[in-house]
Symmetry: C2
Subunit: 300 residues, 2 copies
Amino acid sequence: MNPVAEHASGLIYGFVGLGLMGGSFAKAVRTQILNQPGSRGDILACDARPDSLRQSEQDGIISEGFPPDKAGDMLSRCDVVFICLYPRATLEFLQLYRDAFKSGSVVTDISGVKTELLSSLPDCLRKDVDFISGHPMAGSEKEGYSHASASIFTGRNYILMPRAENTPEHLEFFKNLVTSIGFRRIIETDAVIHDHKIAFTSQLCHVIAAALVDSAEDTGITAFGGGSFEDLTRIAMINAPLWTELFFANRKELLYHLDSFEQSLQQLRDCLENGDRDKMQQFLEQVRIKRTDMSRIEQP
Amino acid sequence: MNPVAEHASGLIYGFVGLGLMGGSFAKAVRTQILNQPGSRGDILACDARPDSLRQSEQDGIISEGFPPDKAGDMLSRCDVVFICLYPRATLEFLQLYRDAFKSGSVVTDISGVKTELLSSLPDCLRKDVDFISGHPMAGSEKEGYSHASASIFTGRNYILMPRAENTPEHLEFFKNLVTSIGFRRIIETDAVIHDHKIAFTSQLCHVIAAALVDSAEDTGITAFGGGSFEDLTRIAMINAPLWTELFFANRKELLYHLDSFEQSLQQLRDCLENGDRDKMQQFLEQVRIKRTDMSRIEQP
């Protein structure tokens, strides 16, 4: 059995990108795994921001930081690598450092869009490196290592896209890992379904939130807020470069769901314009039932 | 000086409608005002549901409950009356019980739409009754007295629409009252501005949430949720009859903001369809700045 799978102890974890997500994963691995009684192992990280690396060393999260041009030195020592970069940068990193990964290592990513990444993998991955693709359904409207927190994963969904090449031992190890750091539910699917579903639950929601903020007459409107507008638009405090990339990487699926949303919106508009109160009330009652059913679906 | 304004002590508070809102107000008045050291006074309530009245008596919130056909008996004893009914029912109640209110009493409402109500007041209000119209920006997707809580008002906005007829003493008393039960910020405006702003912050948000839930392919979609979809659609667990009434009572304003929202949405769609990444990123950056500015506006 592979040493990674045999014991989750004594492993070297490497983080490529120590921002909000990479930093949160590193903190979670440190506190929920390595700091547990009897556990051994270490954490390394690579980031373009020396401040983040220094702060994380001071926090006792990582033991050593690497600038981007030393990424290869880090990778050669890591049993488990988290690539916490934007989607396109993830693919470029895998291509660039194809030969630097440690043989037998497990590598994962956090990309919000998967189809292109997973279809490109065969060209940029060695056969002795096991890439397990996942999408942690967690985040924050705040960016950077200074906002990273081990607790952002608690109770969240983790979407796992197993590949035929993944060994059962590595998959088992990895599921235990994400469960250990707080994820409650692991959904296994493939890249196409992932991108279709995520275009709705994540990207369309960000588009709607952005449009709603844009359409506000002024910023003083929140004086009239009772929580609804605030809840609908918190995610509009958006990382513009990242979300532009995500929207375009999943453009077809996003436009598909945008069409559906606009059709539903048109139905409500028709009720209003035609004075059709009964139809409006029926629509809202069906929506209430549907959303309440969604709330009940807590376990797979 | 009017006895109501002189001391907020020894007053009889009456609640017409003891559902989520009326029940929450009654609980807040009991715990935050009447149960305070040295305070006196009492709470009566009128509701069509005997169970709610009985439960509230058992909870020690109200001292006596009245069925709807005895509302007049209650009103004649009350110094302060909270009418916690749907907007149209509020107006009908005022008309029906015009002669039952105690002379010199302060009466308030919680209607989510104000223009029609306030313009109809002269016909259904005696000159010796002071009607102060307000909109508590608080609520819950759960209904009924059993979900009422004194804490739902904590830190919330309260929109006050003073009328020329309101005495300064009563307005002062009323502002102290809503502050005492937890509201943080009182915004004073008129019915027309209220309805215009609320159509955006509240009604449009509910329309969007309903459309988004309606457009979901299935209820299992939340397995792919990371919080965005959940936050955007919590308010879609909607009280259909109430919100149908609110939407139609404010139809013109709601359609105005719906147009604006759809125009913003169209801009984002255009960026996607035209492959205009730079424009998309600029749009999102402006939205981020605008929404962040909104978050900073905490005090008037």
